[in-house]
């Protein structure tokens, strides 16, 4: 630690392009991650707009079915691996050292590398759209034998996923090492801010789950090109086994995308309720319990493959069990607000809507977790509605809330509160218009991943598309608000920024110096 601190005091920071290319500074890398994520959010959003435009009415209007399937596949891959996960890693890079009183991340060069892999990974992935035969169209879940029919794009997709996996595992290693070894004196584990706790547990999930995905896609690769038969029935393999291996990764993955969101909300709610977080210890145990359970529930993604009754029951009960720690968390957030002196600045609005809308996604998750009814919901728009409620109004809302919450700290300037509120209200209304009707479509039997549909689904699809267009367009307000704050318009932010904010990060100036905590702070 001493050596890193010394380095910081002796040199000024590099400027120009090399500052970003060779950066080992946690704030610069955090910024890079967040900008990358924002770019990918708009790229993936563009794919979503194509999907919603095509589904506006029955029949094929804008794209053919193959292009449509490429859009759904790419939308998922880009949003999951390009937008949500890098956004969380960016927030971790920025905030974890500030929150635990460390001068930087523990492994700064690894940090640089784990970011700069990502642009290459996404160049590989996005370039497939321009290849003969097009990009991957078999769904982000990559089930064989369908996904093995992908043309030239296939090896590009596999290697892009390898790179994304390497990047996030390296990021996770960095987070764990930082939290274990770089805490300021007195910053014991039971004083860690909730965001750090949730990220620490997420990092362990990443290290355990991402390599399994790497293994699964490598098996796909060797099945296609090297004559192995992992998933080829003719050679003694089993395509259903892919689903087991994939979802053994896939279910922890969905918690990787929500646990840091829990952390962000657990930072925002106490600030604007002006009360300490209710049930801090139970929050930690709840996150831990969710993380452990996430490794034994993968079968609920595949209730209909023909499982023995005992398997269905095991996966059903263990899935429903996850509602208990999740309920503890929601209860604690509500209890934190109970009799607090609440104010409703933009970050708080996002956090509140997170609590309500994520819970709706959780409830539809419970419905899907019941094996007998899942036979009806499987592969319908009900599933699409469910996971967009937990991922968009869950993960993305928490990220957007977190960005409004910490942006004044990062830039030293307040964002435009009126614009922030306008963006919030437009988003929260349109996102419900976008995804709520999809519940009804699913219950009525509309299958997911279809470019065309029967006429009785028209009205709900039109509403959903209109909601989608408004939601997509209102994100431009967010982009504008962020850019003008970065460029220095807006009132100067104080060090504490928010009246009710507590923690080491709020003791530093806004913006914090390039090298913060060169002498370890005192933690009381």
């Amino acid at each position: 630690m001493a050596e890193i601190a010394l380095h910081g005091t002796e040199h000024g920071h590099p400027s120009g392009i090399t500052r970003w290319l060779f950066s080992t500074n946690h704030k610069d890398i955090g910024t890079l991650y967040l900008l990358f994520s924002l770019t990918m959010f708009f790229v993936g959003g563009t794919f979503a707009m194509v999907i919603r435009a095509e589904l506006f009415k029955p029949g094929l209007q804008f794209v053919d079915a193959l292009t449509f399937n490429q859009m759904t596949t790419m939308h998922a891959l880009v949003m999951i691996f390009g937008a949500v996960m890098p956004a969380f890693v960016g927030l971790a890079n920025w905030m974890i050292p500030l929150m635990i009183g460390a001068p930087d991340m523990a492994l700064p060069r690894l940090n640089n590398w784990s970011f700069w892999i990502l642009p290459f990974a996404f160049t590989l992935l996005l370039s497939t759209l321009f290849m003969p035969g097009g990009g991957p169209a078999g769904g982000w879940t990559m089930y064989p034998p369908l996904f093995l029919q992908t043309g030239m794009a296939f090896p590009f997709v596999i290697f892009a996923i390898h790179l994304m996996g390497i990047s996030s595992v390296m990021g996770a290693i960095n987070v764990i090492t930082t939290v274990f070894n770089m805490r300021a004196p007195g910053m014991v584990f039971r004083k860690l801010p909730m965001f750090v706790w949730t990220w620490l547990i997420t990092a362990f999930l990443l290290i355990a789950a991402m390599p399994v995905l790497a293994g699964a896609v490598t098996m796909l690769l060797t099945d296609k090109y090297f004559g192995t038969s992992f998933f080829n029935a003719a050679g003694g393999g089993d395509p259903v086994m892919f689903q087991h291996v994939f979802w053994f990764f896939g279910h922890p993955e969905v918690y990787i995308m929500i646990l840091p969101a829990f952390g962000i909300v657990s930072q925002i709610v106490p600030t604007f309720a002006r009360k300490p977080l209710f049930g801090y210890t139970s929050m930690i145990y709840a996150v831990g319990a969710i993380a452990i359970l996430s490794f034994i529930v993968w079968g609920h993604h595949m209730f209909t493959v023909g499982m023995p009754l005992a398997g269905e029951l095991f996966f059903m009960y263990s899935t429903i069990l996850i509602a208990v720690p999740t309920g503890v968390k929601v209860f604690n957030w509500v209890a934190t607000m109970w009799r607090g002196s609440l104010t409703f600045e933009t970050p708080m609005l996002w956090a509140l809507s997170f609590i309500v809308l994520f819970s709706i996604g959780g409830f539809s998750g419970l419905m899907l977790g019941l094996a007998p009814v899942d036979f009806q919901y499987q592969d319908t728009y009900f599933v699409v509605a469910h996971f967009h409620y937990v991922l968009v109004t869950g993960a993305v809302f928490a990220i957007v809330g977190g960005i409004h919450y910490w942006l004044p700290k990062w830039t030293g300037r307040m964002y435009d509160e009126r614009l922030g509120k306008l963006h919030f209200w437009l988003s929260v209304i349109s996102v419900n218009l976008l995804f709520f009707p999809q519940h009804f479509l699913g219950l009525a039997g509309m299958p997911r991943r279809v470019a065309d549909y029967a006429v009785q689904y028209t009205e709900w699809n039109m509403m959903s598309s209109i909601g989608g267009f408004i939601f997509g367009a209102s994100q431009l307000l967010f982009l504008y608000n962020v850019i003008r704050t970065i460029r220095g318009s807006g009132a100067k932010a104080s060090d504490q920024v928010w009246e009710g904010a507590h923690g080491l990060e709020w003791t530093l100036p806004s913006p914090p110096p390039y090298h913060s905590f060169t002498t370890a702070p005192e933690v009381k």
Binding site: M1, I4, V169, T177, F180, A208, P211, A234
Partner: protein, 189 residues
Amino acid sequence: MTTPANNRRLAWKLAFFAMAMIGFGYLLVPLYQVYCTRTGFNGTTGRIDYGDAVKRKVDTARWVTVEFVANVSGNLPWEFHPEVVRLKVHPGDLVLTRFHARNLGNAAIVGQAIPNVTPGEAAPYFHKIECFCFSQQPLAPGEGKDLPLQFQVDPQLPTTIGTLTLSYTFFEAPGVRADRRPAGDAARG
């Protein structure tokens, strides 16, 4: 800038753990195979010796219906069907039946049949003594073949199950060129 030794040590430990998880991903493959054969999960059927099969007593008081389904995978130009679609058997009987396959294409092809029993709970009680799926089946253009199957339904079959469906799907054997491969080798369980 050097990284303190304890950071590096922890990072390597975590990296090792990540590598081990790749290994675990691959370990899931044999684990899954063992699990399927033990439990009949996914309709995996078992193979037994004639000697073991004759030792089982025939339960003449009970009838079980066995249905046969024959499929051909998408790109294989074969015709394939069972001789009888449905048989009533006593549990413990040694039953012999036949399927027919014919190559309708103009090139020799080696096929491999993959069995599956529905419902999955019945799969561990369905024993094959002799089956054309144990080996690869080469067919010359236009050639037809009788494919025998000898099986036994275990007398232990739960009484709740009255009907089993045995389905075969013929695939082109992966990585085998028909013109280079003589008949009958590369046996498979």
